[in-house]
């Protein structure tokens, strides 16, 4: 583990162990989510032979990749005390923008399509960045609550998606473009690489860079950050841009996997992303949390869905169980804070 990672680890450790040493409660509080994930995997491995098969495990990871990428972007925003409700709509918008450049169908509205996949991908990312910039600028410059701004963006981006696509799916995407969602390298699906790559970069940025320090400081105490000379506005702006870019990436993965971009894609995806962040132990009050927790949170949701699928549990139950999980995770977090 990296030095800064260790330092953060140590912070958490000293918090719960200063007076008490290693007690069962402190271990559960620190590694609760990770333990829960292991227990869940263990249980599933015992009751279902298929769970541990390479095929299934890769499947879980691949299914987690879209939510995982959205949740990583969401982590940056929540660390600064913000929230981004628009990522699902922004993903859909980026999906149709990229698809319009990568479709072989004549219904595409861009002349000259299909373009090379790289062009389409850059355009999709740009769409995500544009949406994030608008939200970020309004939050940072005019101090409008992020909840309200991104609620507006949730609606506006969905509307743009429908307008741009004429309300119809954009089908027949090029194989080249679809590769990011369906392809694999050494037998491992490309989306998993994208998820792990995003995670690695985000982890590095948050633990090793000046910008990472800024994010924690702005979320922990924006006034102190300002007095300490930090560019608070720029930092708050940036996190929405990051969330927008990652939403763009997730939206393109979604389109690439299904082979066509649906204007109604990604509805309510922001809720799963927020759930993964919260389950992963990041505080909605800002300043505290780790992207590794978010990854585990996303995996927990993914494994749970997969396990319930394998056991043939109706998907309606899955939603109930996920709800319970979110609240339980936050309750665990609260009890930790109370003891400090």
């Amino acid at each position: 583990m990296t030095r800064a990672g260790e330092a953060m680890e140590l912070t958490m450790q000293t918090r719960t162990t200063t007076a008490r040493g290693w007690t069962a409660t402190s271990v559960i509080q620190r590694y609760g989510i990770f333990i829960a994930l292991l227990l869940l995997c263990l249980t599933l491995a015992v009751i279902n032979d298929n769970f541990l098969s390479t095929r299934n495990l890769l499947n879980v990871l691949r299914q987690t990749s879209i939510n995982g990428i959205l949740a990583i972007g969401m982590t940056f925003v929540i660390l600064t005390r913000g929230i981004d409700l628009s990522v699902g709509s922004v993903a859909a918008f980026a999906g149709v923008v990229a698809a319009s450049l990568a479709t072989t169908s004549s219904t595409g509205m861009i002349a000259g399509a299909p373009y090379p996949a790289l062009v389409a991908i850059l355009a999709g990312l740009a769409a995500g960045v544009a949406c994030g910039s608008v939200s970020g600028a309004i939050v940072a410059r005019f101090n409008v609550p992020a909840f309200v701004v991104t609620l507006g963006m949730l609606s506006a981006a969905r509307g743009l998606t429908l307008l741009y696509s004429g309300g119809r799916p954009i089908p027949a995407l090029t194989e080249e473009f679809r590769w990011i969602g369906t392809g694999s390298i050494w037998g491992i699906p490309v989306p998993i690489f994208l998820l792990l790559g995003t995670f690695a970069v985000a982890h590095f940025v948050l633990t090793q860079t000046r910008f990472g320090r800024h994010v924690y400081a702005v979320g922990g105490n924006p006034h102190a950050a300002k007095v300490s000379g930090l560019p608070v506005r720029r930092i708050r702006f940036s996190v929405y841009v990051i969330a927008g870019a990652l939403a763009g990436l997730a939206g393109m993965l979604l389109a690439a996997r299904t082979g066509s971009a649906l204007p109604q894609a990604g509805i309510a995806y922001e809720l799963d992303a927020i759930a993964a962040v919260v389950i992963g132990g990041t505080s909605l009050a800002g300043g505290v949390g780790r992207v590794s927790g978010t990854l585990i949170g996303a995996l927990l949701i993914g494994v749970m869905n997969n396990g319930l699928d394998l056991m043939g549990v109706e998907s309606y139950y899955q939603q109930v169980i996920k709800g319970i999980l979110i609240v339980a995770a936050v309750m665990l977090d609260q009890s930790k804070n109370k003891q400090d």
Binding site: G212, G220, H223, A224, G229
Partner: protein
């Protein structure tokens, strides 16, 4: 007659580490009794047990001679014990009356609140103690001092006989504090017993009748205030003799470092001119609302400027934000370290490095070793007591938190240090260490502007004092002319 409150052998441990070992206290009717001790002396644990917030491991509490055990603050209140806490917690959008009688409003039929009775009752209560506040005022329109008085009125509305005041003047200016002392005198004359907790010894000597000292969780001594000197009391609190309360070894040079001409801010500062010299500690004194903090905010670029010229070392500078100020060599220790000084959820190290991230990184990537070294150097130089630099800063005592804020600023190697109430909420021992740090900085050629509402602190530390009133300079006193009377005279 038995005492209002008599506590013996009170003890409490948290997860094996004792916070209170032997708490003793005896409060007589019609007296003000100061509870003294440094941070970690066990005062707050003691008060929390008395108020029924914590349960106790051992010991007895007798109320009017009868043994009592409270399991909640509500029970303590019913038994006539009320507390006015250091951190006030009003509902800002409600009126004074609604705040005071929250949860026990007089009702009419169908559960409707009887506002007429509520407001009359509250006004009677406020008038009875001579508090100049209207029952129908909205809390958020009140000053901090008035809010404090409302909290006291709330305690009194329960007809409490024992009133605990925890650092009641920490947010008050001199004049407002006088107002509070008048109220305390009234309560005393009506036979109430008051437990007074304050780090400000001068207050204790002016209003308390008795003192009790705790140190390291133990009762040390009690007695009448008339029988003890300030130095003796400090010795009891700290556990060792402190030769001098203040440390001052700097000598100002003639060279002017900072010159302000006609300085104004959108709020609070009007047409202020002054010079700051090398190695000088310039005191800024004034009542609440006199513009003390606003002057520092203006110098640090935190307020909207409204004219005026600044020059540093003869060069004109324009400061429109903290980063401008920092590159001009200015550092600013703000008034409220929890609000604007520290990121409480972050570690000691991250807080110390917060203003130096540019220097401690290369191409945006932190240089972890330099970071750790810089932090440990500050911890060593300032004597910050912390188990590790990775400890969350919220876990440190007030004095050590303040040293972390100072350390953050010393890390940028400033030439001008702005200090707003640098020792607020800091115990006597740590105070002296902070004075030592300030004095050393000035002795090394640094210049300091220090705002303080503690007259003693200004008298003890400043080479020269500017007295502010309504954002303007009301007078300027050299060290040789300084006296408490003169300061108050100019400020009022």
């Amino acid at each position: 007659m038995p005492p209002l409150l008599e506590v013996e052998g009170l003890s409490k441990s948290f997860s094996g580490s004792p916070a209170l070992i032997d708490g003793r206290f005896r409060l007589e009717a019609g007296t003000v009794h100061a509870l003294c001790g440094g941070n970690g002396a066990g005062k707050s644990t003691f008060l929390k047990i008395v108020m029924g917030i914590h349960d106790r491991d051992g010991g007895t509490i007798r109320r009017n001679g009868r043994e009592v055990v409270f399991s909640s603050p509500a029970e303590a209140l019913q038994n006539g014990i009320a507390i006015v806490e250091q951190e006030l917690s009003p509902v800002p959008a409600m009126t004074v009356a609604e705040n005071i009688y929250m949860g026990r409003e007089p009702l009419r039929s169908f559960g409707r609140i009887d506002f007429a009775t509520l407001n009359r009752q509250t006004q009677d209560l406020l008038d009875g103690f001579g508090f100049a506040i209207r029952a129908t005022d909205v809390m958020m329109d009140l000053t901090v001092a008035q809010t404090q008085l409302v909290e006291i009125a709330k305690a009194l509305s329960y007809d409490a006989e024992v009133i605990i005041l925890d650092e009641p003047t920490s947010a008050l200016g001199e004049a407002e504090a006088e107002h509070l002392f008048d109220a305390i005198a009234t309560l005393k004359n009506r036979g109430k017993g008051l437990i007074y907790v304050s780090h400000r010894l001068s207050e204790i000597f002016s209003i308390a009748d008795h003192y009790t000292v705790f140190r390291d969780g133990r009762f040390v001594e009690d007695g009448a205030i008339g029988d003890i000197t300030k130095d003796e009391l400090i010795r009891l609190i700290v556990g060792r003799p402190l030769n001098e309360e203040f440390v001052k070894e700097n000598t100002p040079a003639d060279r002017v470092v900072l010159r302000a001409e006609g300085l104004s801010a959108a709020r609070g500062v009007r047409d202020l001119s002054f010079d700051l010299r090398e190695g000088e500690i310039l005191g800024l004194y004034g009542l609440m609302g006199s513009g003390r903090t606003e002057v520092l905010d203006r110098l640090f670029g935190l307020s909207d400027e409204a004219g005026g010229r600044l020059s540093i070392n003869g060069q004109p500078v324009r400061i429109s934000g903290p980063s401008d100020a920092m590159s001009a060599g200015i550092a600013y220790v703000t008034e409220d370290r929890k609000q604007t000084g520290l990121v409480l959820s972050s570690s000691v190290r991250d807080n110390l490095c917060l203003s130096s991230l540019d220097r401690l990184s290369r191409l945006g990537v932190m240089r972890s070793r330099q970071e750790a070294e810089a932090a440990s150097r500050m911890i060593r130089e300032l004597g910050i007591r912390t188990a590790s630099d990775a400890l969350t800063v919220a876990n440190l005592s007030g004095g050590n938190q303040q040293k972390v804020v100072l350390g953050k600023w010393f890390m940028i190697a400033p030439r001008i240090l702005l200090l707003d109430e640098p020792t607020r909420g800091v115990d006597v021992g740590a105070k002296r260490e902070i004075y030592r740090v300030i004095s050393d900085f000035a002795r090394g050629g640094g210049s300091v502007i220090m705002v303080s509402s503690e007259t003693d602190e200004i008298l003890g530390m400043a080479d020269r004092v500017i007295v502010l009133k309504d954002g303007r300079k009301a007078g300027e006193l050299a060290r040789s002319q300084l006296s408490a009377e003169e300061l108050l005279h100019l400020a009022a």
